[in-house]
């Protein structure tokens, strides 16, 4: 068992983390916006239904949600979840979309009313005002909290091992079972590198948006 082989094995595990990370972002970022519109809706039933949903998802452990998504289809509907990665992706997308939705909501509500009014008196429709005037300002304001969420997501992807997605920590545990403990600690290097790249990326994005206040 050479160092090089362990490094490569762990890297293969990290591939699973990376896949889950990207899939979660691709679906949770837009889904979060839809949930935001629901929780900001003037139609009370939709608003409270959405808020209850967000409460349930944010109020229960992601680990538990992973179990639910993986086992409940088989137990209740008799349709066993075939792919572990699919189950993990569904659970992560729903969970993160709810957190994103609250960040979006905070960002949207922080935009001064005058921006909407300016849009209105200039004859912009509500949709145009949102997408052409407000959204870019929201993006700028939520960069920092979104950076937090992205980093948390990187590390949370390891939770997928509870439904046996063979991500990096699970890969390391296979060595532990054979009496090698250090690969488990070695995984930290991968997480640090992953998060380091993201931190740099967010710094760059923040700089890109610094041309206006």
């Amino acid at each position: 068992m050479t160092f090089q082989q362990i490094t490569l094995d762990l890297l293969e595990g990290l591939g699973q983390n990376l896949q889950l990370f990207l899939l979660t972002l691709v679906f949770a970022l837009p889904l979060g916006l839809i949930i935001t519109f629901g929780s900001m809706s003037k139609f009370a039933p939709l608003k409270y239904l959405t808020k209850t949903f967000v409460w349930i998802i944010r109020g229960s452990p992601l680990m538990l949600q992973l179990f639910v998504v993986f086992y409940v289809p088989g137990l209740v509907f008799g349709i066993p979840m075939k792919s572990r990665m699919l189950a993990a992706t569904i659970a992560f997308v729903i969970n993160y979309a709810c957190y994103f939705s609250e960040i979006y909501r905070g960002g949207i509500e922080s935009i001064p009313n005058g921006q909407y009014e300016a849009g209105q008196v200039l004859g912009l429709t509500k949709t145009q005002t949102f997408f052409r005037v407000v959204l870019m300002q929201v993006v700028k304001r939520i960069i920092a909290p979104m950076g937090n969420e992205f980093l948390t997501l990187v590390k949370d992807t390891s939770l997928a091992r509870v439904i046996a997605v063979s991500e990096i920590i699970m890969a390391a545990e296979r060595f532990t079972a054979r009496g090698l403990i250090w690969p488990l600690f070695y995984t930290a290097v991968y997480f640090l590198a992953f998060c380091g790249i993201l931190t740099l990326l967010f710094g760059w994005i923040e700089k890109k948006f610094s041309y206006y206040r």
Partner: protein, 260 residues
């Protein structure tokens, strides 16, 4: 014919009556100032006419179109509402420029979105957009801001920002331009440049309604002044008359309080 007709306008916020029956008319090409202490309802009146607030009763006619009539059961379509909205322009106290767009983009954004509704937009897209840029640049040049075309609002002084917001409203060619305390958010040394622009617009016979605390300016630039007090028009008349010969005690008290 009057270009703006407001009849028996009422507006409540909850149980507070803010407007208690406002009637006035404004002729095309005239400038009217609305004065009064804070809480008198002048900004609410402006916001009702500019369609940012919906009045509770009464009627408002702008340039021949009824934009609000509590006695009519006819619902306006989105298209009619949009047309009505574009009949009036509004310059805000706090500018409300779009921070992520530069000066030129701030002025052209609404024009370009409006142009999309034109039947020949797809065919002549390039020409139409170039035309809009040209028109906007000419207006910006008139305000003396040609060297700021590519600057963002945060790089401009308050006076410059307010001038950009005036261009932005003017660019859509409204029938009436409203100003909500256009210099109240500015340092005293910056109010001059904004007032100068409004004065120039008055000389070009732009129809304007200005809510202001600048009494000397109001007297100089306006044809008529309305004095509002506690949700009603307490006194109105020609600018000189109203300020030099106030009839009501309330106006006398108001003018003496602000040192006139």
């Amino acid at each position: 014919m009057a270009i703006l007709e407001v009849k028996n306008l009422h507006k409540n916020f909850g149980k507070t009556q803010v407007l208690k029956g406002i009637d006035f008319e404004l002729e095309k090409g005239q400038v009217m100032s609305i004065i009064g202490s804070s809480g008198s309802g002048k900004t609410t009146l402006l916001r009702c006419v500019a369609q940012l607030e919906t009045a509770d009763s009464g009627s408002i006619k702008v340039d021949g179109s009824t934009i609000f009539d509590s006695n009519s059961s006819q619902k306006l379509t989105a298209d009619e509402k949009m047309k009505n909205q574009l009949k009036t322009g509004l310059v805000f106290q706090s500018f409300n420029l779009f921070p992520q767009y530069n000066v030129l983009e701030n002025v052209t954004l609404a024009m370009k979105l409006q142009a999309k509704r034109r039947a020949d937009y797809k065919e002549n897209k390039k020409e139409i957009l170039a035309e809009i840029d040209l028109k906007a640049k000419a207006l910006i040049a008139k305000m003396g801001l040609s060297d700021k075309l590519g600057n963002y609002p945060c790089e401009l002084s308050g006076g410059q920002q307010q001038r950009v917001s005036i261009v932005r409203a003017m660019a859509l060619e409204p029938s009436i331009l409203f100003f909500d305390e256009p210099t109240s958010a500015l340092d005293p040394e910056l109010t001059g440049e904004v007032l100068k622009v409004i004065r120039e617009l008055a000389e070009e016979n732009m129809t304007m309604v200005i809510v202001t605390h600048e009494m000397d300016f109001a007297r100089e630039v306006s044809d008529n002044i309305i004095f509002m007090d506690n949700g009603v028009i307490a006194e109105s008349g020609s600018a000189d008359d109203l300020i030099n010969n106030p009839q009501t005690d309330r106006l006398k008290a108001f003018l003496s309080k602000i040192g006139k």
